[in-house]
Symmetry: C2
Subunit: 206 residues, 2 copies
DNA sequence: GTAATAAACGGAGGCGCCTCCGTTTTAGTG
DNA sequence: CACTAAAACGGAGGCGCCTCCGTTTATTAC
């Protein structure tokens, strides 16, 4: 899901600081990341690296050459997913009216966080160890949100007296809420509620 | 080092919530903790559990029965060390004039932090995962410090217009300072400086 | 095409983690 | 003491981590 836009971004990012990989190396690397996404999704962030190598059809040595530590691999996977989430903002904005785009993106945000819930502890380690990663992520996500909010404000589908950071604040509650079984449903409701509030008093009558 | 006072405290703490261990079990458990202290000190918090078991002269199974996860063992070791640090406050207070006791305790605090420096990341994980541990520690350490400060203020060996939380604040800088090679020396100097400031303007002339 | 060489591959091997379960020890009871 | 049940022991075994190095492959030069 959603691999093309991030692939482009990755290419760009790598071109900056590294020599081009040999064809086979590039192929294997991509393969590994792809497989890692599913393995981490299935088994959590502690999923076996040997399984990842096996499923990708490469030796464990190859995995370690590309990603010297588990954290390296986790970081790449994580960045790729954040990238996909942000890219989705652009796509949604093209296909839907701007208020709908905003709402759908927030629901997607909830889904995204949901998959990260179980991994909370391990992810927190990676995120605190690597503070660049944290701030990059935060920056990208809030930029994506800002565009959606501003577009919706601009064409009057949501009220004008809020800005992106208000909305981010509201979403922040979702992130820090306790990890209960009902979390996901509650969060979905919360997003709807938030949207109702945002639509209420919009310039354009619905 | 400094095992008796904490042993007493441990006994008390355990009596509260657990049945007494069989003699051999108690012996092995104590042994394991003792060895774990040195192994963690030598090899860091990632030191091999099998080595700990080996050095303690027990099977790996025994270690795991007593401490189901590495974190359990780390927690016990950590609590014991904090306990020792706090107990030292009482001992120093008996053997030295109260300002000297305070100074020496702070130097010891620096030594203690120094051994934790390398373990920062792993320890942070344990401390954020287990917030009770964090607040317990904080509480105990600040209580120990409070007693020393209050005694020194009371008998006029340090000035009267400061309290324990001021001093703790000053020490806080030590804790959060970056982990450079000169860290330890700088911290020692900082403690001396702090003491000079505290002695300056004390009621009793030195 | 072929040769040369730098790059990449992959898996064996050594070590640590953790579980499981047959064996041993302890603490009660008569 | 002797016996017994409960508790504790310990290490074999299965799995994952990671390194190291002999083998294979892509690329470059001719």
């Amino acid at each position: 899901m959603a691999s093309e836009p991030s692939a482009i971004a990755e290419q760009k990012a790598e071109a900056v600081d590294a020599k081009p990989l040999r064809a086979d190396a590039r192929r294997n690397r991509d393969r590994l990341v792809e497989v890692a996404v599913s393995v981490f999704a299935e088994r959590g962030i502690d999923g076996s690296l040997e399984e990842i190598a096996r499923r990708a059809g490469v030796g464990i040595g190859t995995l370690y050459r590309h990603f010297p530590t588990r954290e390296h691999l986790v970081e790449v996977v994580y960045r790729r997913e954040v990238e996909a989430l942000c890219a989705a903002a652009g796509e949604l904005a093209q296909k839907h009216p701007s208020d709908v785009a905003l709402e759908q993106w927030m629901q997607r945000f909830v889904d995204y966080i949901a998959t990260k819930r179980g991994l909370a502890t391990s992810l927190r380690i990676v995120l605190t160890t690597n503070s660049t990663l944290f701030s990059d992520t935060f920056g990208r996500v809030s930029q994506a949100l800002r565009r959606l909010v501003e577009a919706a404000v601009a064409d009057g589908t949501i009220r004008g007296d809020v800005d992106a950071s208000d909305v981010l604040h509201a979403l922040g509650g979702i992130y820090s809420a306790p990890d209960t079984p009902e979390w996901r449903d509650r969060s979905r409701r919360l997003v709807k509620l938030l949207m109702d509030g945002l639509r209420f008093g919009a310039v354009k009558a619905q």
